[in-house]
């Protein structure tokens, strides 16, 4: 798709082992979209067991094997594998690679007017290391031990004694390495390679979001890597970092040294995984900010406060991790600290959301397909954020912790939230990548289907959670309270399957538009940021002449400019 100019490179160097950030961005995007689809498919299969527990679907036995689904009946261990892998794939192989590896790689260098990433070869390496990590994760389904089945959080001692975990750990080591390489590259690129005149406060908000995200990845992932190393030692070298003395499994005392600490893992894990949720959401906010400014035709309200809020969010996200551990027997001092930081961190989120909504005031809103997704992001993220409050306060968390309420909460952030933003981003930047627009009708169909069914899937979960249904249950009807709300589960499952169907217009649109979409020029949305100053698709090296920046990122509808918008690189009259 790119690089008409470099005839000297062969097919392999041009499309497979390319060092062009745009090709790598596309590779990331396609791979991550496939993983998202796969992770979602796992969930659609699980949703059948949840809605109709114990029902056999014989043809699934053929797909997944008699060992996992004898006669088409899902076994609990297989359910747990699907659950753990759904979480892992969605987070580490789907959303982050799409938001950072895909969008970040493709768009960020263009937005800062750079010819490429600072370290193109390293960039290629991070993609391929990610790819290998993905292969290991997927391949683990075919190992005799099966895939990991201790949840994406992999709490020991369960994960120490469960099969499948070793492959997960090796896979994670690859994914972590890939993220670390990527984040170094992103930070250096943003700091060093901005075009002339592009000061920090003239950066598009998307770039800020990527910068903070990269810092989070850089500093939060190593502790998980450390935890992974320790768990590998526990599993392979017989140590007991996470296992206390006197463990008895099936009434057999384990032959271990003991004296380990299961909570050590949780601390190290959540030290990563809380910042990770901001890694999932910040790039989405960045995308939404771009689309909002472009389609409201006016500057973002409170650009500076957005930036400061994001940086503050980044800092704070390192000191809230133990709000995931309130039920581990935490005393009053620790819990007071983590409740307070959690309440504090909600403030910048409120600021960001407020700034985005106020940006609508005085606008002239074009309801393009990307804009629909960006707009829908706002209330969905609001629901996700608000429902975090009762989980961040210990007293209410007593009832809600580890229930479907939690599942509803974070999915509203990452699925109707982040995924909506990512879809919006795809519609928005598609013309930059291909030179063609995606189809409007199909786009709207996709939008409404997705918005409605996302809510049908996840809304019932709040009520289920209120109603005491634990998460990660293979069959909730064994509990009386589970039987009570089984109809909600069935509704949610049908929602998930319809959500799957709602993606068909997108898939058709995506592939058809590559070849048959309406051809457009380099700036179809009348946008101001630098990526639109490059040809569509941008050639190798991106810009025909090195861009120079004269103004802030969102100079829409300035009174002095009759065209209605002033691109950042337009020389002042």
């Amino acid at each position: 798709m790119s690089g008409e100019h470099d005839h000297e490179l062969g097919f392999w160097r041009k499309y497979v082992f390319s060092i062009d950030h745009k090709v790598i961005g596309i590779q990331y995007t396609i791979t991550a979209l496939l993983f998202l689809l796969f992770g979602f498919t796992l969930m659609m299969v699980m949703r059948f067991q949840l809605a109709y527990p114990g029902t056999e679907i014989p043809f699934l036995a053929k797909i997944f094997g008699e060992g996992n689904m004898p006669g088409g009946l899902m076994l609990p261990e297989f359910y747990n594998q699907l659950g753990a892998m759904h979480g892992t794939i969605m987070v580490f192989l789907g959303v982050v690679p799409l938001a950072v590896g895909g969008f970040g790689n493709y768009v960020m260098p263009l937005q800062i007017g750079a010819p490429d990433m600072a370290f193109p070869r390293l960039n290629m390496a991070s993609y391929w290391v990610y790819f290998l990590g993905g292969v290991i994760m997927l391949g683990s389904f075919f190992l005799p031990s099966g895939a990991a089945q201790s949840g994406w959080t992999s709490y020991p001692p369960l994960s120490n004694i469960n099969p499948g975990q070793t492959a997960w750990l090796f896979g994670m080591v690859f994914l972590i390495t890939s993220s670390l390489l990527g984040s170094v590259n992103f930070i250096v690129t943003i700091i060093q390679l901005r075009a002339e005149g592009l000061t920090f406060f003239r950066l598009p908000f998307f770039v800020w979001a990527q910068l903070v995200t990269a810092f989070l990845l850089l500093l939060a992932f190593p502790p998980l890597e450390a935890a992974g190393v320790l768990q590998l030692m526990d599993r392979l070298a017989g140590t007991s970092f996470f296992m206390p003395s006197g463990l008895v499994v099936s009434n057999q005392v384990l032959d271990i040294a003991g004296e380990g600490n299961p909570l050590l893992w949780q601390h190290l894990f959540w030290f990563l995984a809380h910042p990770e949720v901001y890694v999932l959401i910040l790039p989405a906010m960045g995308i939404v900010a771009e689309i909002l400014a472009n389609n409201t035709r006016k500057p973002l309200w409170g650009y500076r406060s957005l930036v400061y809020a994001t940086i503050f969010l980044g800092f704070m996200s390192f000191i809230v991790w133990a709000h995931h551990m309130f039920m581990t027997g935490m005393g009053t001092t620790m819990s007071a600290f983590f409740q307070t930081t959690t309440m504090i961190i909600s403030v910048p989120s409120v600021i960001i959301l407020t700034a985005m909504v106020i940006s609508l005031w005085g606008a002239s809103i074009r309801y393009t397909v990307p804009m629909l997704f960006a707009i829908a992001f706002l209330p969905m993220f609001a629901i996700g954020g608000l429902t975090g409050l009762p989980l961040g306060l210990t007293a209410s968390d007593i009832h809600l912790h580890d229930t479907y309420y939690v599942i509803g909460h974070f999915h509203f952030v990452v699925a109707p939230g982040t995924l909506m933003a990512l879809f919006g981003g795809i519609y928005y930047w598609f013309p930059k990548v291909t030179g063609r627009l995606m189809n409007n009708m199909l786009g709207k169909l996709h939008f409404w289907g997705t918005l409605i069914f996302m809510n049908v899937v996840f809304m019932p979960m709040f009520l289920q959670g209120m109603h005491s249904v634990s998460r990660r249950l293979y069959d909730q009807t064994v509990y009386e309270h589970g039987k009570d709300v089984q109809d909600l589960t069935i509704a949610s499952s049908w929602g998930a399957w319809c959500l799957g169907i709602a993606q068909i217009p997108f898939i058709i649109n995506f592939f058809a538009s590559i070849f048959a979409g309406k051809k457009v020029g380099s700036n179809p949305w009348d946008a101001t940021t630098l990526e639109w100053a490059a040809p569509s698709p941008p050639p190798h090296g991106n810009f025909e002449t090195e861009p120079v920046v004269y103004r802030g990122p969102y100079e829409y509808s300035p009174p002095e400019d009759p065209t209605g918008f002033s691109p950042q690189n337009k020389a002042p009259a």
Binding site: D6, S183, Q192, L193, L219, A226, A257, L264, N542
Partner: protein, 253 residues
């Protein structure tokens, strides 16, 4: 290829004052600090929660480790010298110092191997009556093992080699060598020094590359090559620094 090239590859950025590679290596080291920081925290947490913790100097080979500390510090010095030689345009000297750095790193690994190996053939038997015996394992049988206890360190029998003895399996609670599975102390010892060792191996690979194939760049882009050696040096000093923390933590405290 179209016009633009990636900037600040060999010259520092006017505002930040560093090249891309140097900023990159500093960021990488920041993440390494988080990695070892997390492991050190794990050490503290496990040690605080432990019912008993051996003194490193009783269990580990302090003389060898001291030797290794000296070896590693020297290698840091030669690393600086190799970079300085490039600065002074003396490629031959660079090679010599780089060669010394690599040789010292290999020496570190060899000494480490001497430190590791005996641990795996040295055993401890924990008996049901809460006592334990250290020594070397003889034949293993269905219902018993043969075991040669270590000579006592002090007391009246100090230095006397005890006879091989028979221990009933039914009396044994746990039998383990002094590998990682022995106890959290040894688990941490092997994990931390092992991970550090992997960093050493990484450094050797990079330095060897810089010394031989990578040095071709010296002819074409001197500044860039010097920058690379400097970055490798920063990494090497970091690895050295980690050891400076590990040494007292594991061997002395």
């Amino acid at each position: 290829m179209s016009s633009a090239e990636i900037k600040y590859i060999d010259k520092p950025h006017p505002l930040t004052g560093v090249t891309n590679a140097k900023l990159g290596i500093w960021l990488f080291l920041a993440s390494e600090v988080m990695l070892f920081g997390a492991l050190f925290s794990a050490y503290v947490l496990l040690r605080v929660g432990a019912t008993s913790w051996p003194r490193g100097s009783d269990e580990l080979n302090v003389p060898l480790a001291t030797l290794n500390t000296i070896v590693l510090i020297t290698s840091s010095v030669t690393m600086v010298m190799s970079w300085a030689s490039l600065k002074l345009d003396n490629f031959g000297k660079f090679r010599r110092y780089m060669g010394m750095t690599i040789a010292l790193s290999l020496a570190f690994l060899v000494i480490k191997t001497f430190e590791y190996t005996p641990k795996f053939s040295h055993y401890e038997v924990f008996l049901n009556d809460k006592t334990s015996v250290r020594g070397h394992l003889g034949e293993k049988h269905e219902d018993h093992i043969l075991f040669t206890p270590d000579p006592e360190k002090d007391g009246e029998h100090a230095g006397v080699h005890p006879e091989e003895m028979r221990i009933e399996r039914s009396d044994i609670r746990r039998l383990t060598n002094f590998g990682p599975r022995h106890s959290n102390f040894f688990a941490l010892y092997f994990t931390l020094t092992g991970l550090h060792g992997l960093h050493i191996i990484g450094g050797i690979v990079v330095n060897t590359w810089l010394m031989f194939p990578g040095s071709a760049m010296w002819k074409t882009q001197r500044e860039r090559f010097t920058g690379r050696v400097e970055c490798a040096g920063l990494y090497w000093h970091f690895v050295d620094l980690v050891w400076i923390f590990l040494f007292p933590l594991l061997y002395l405290l």
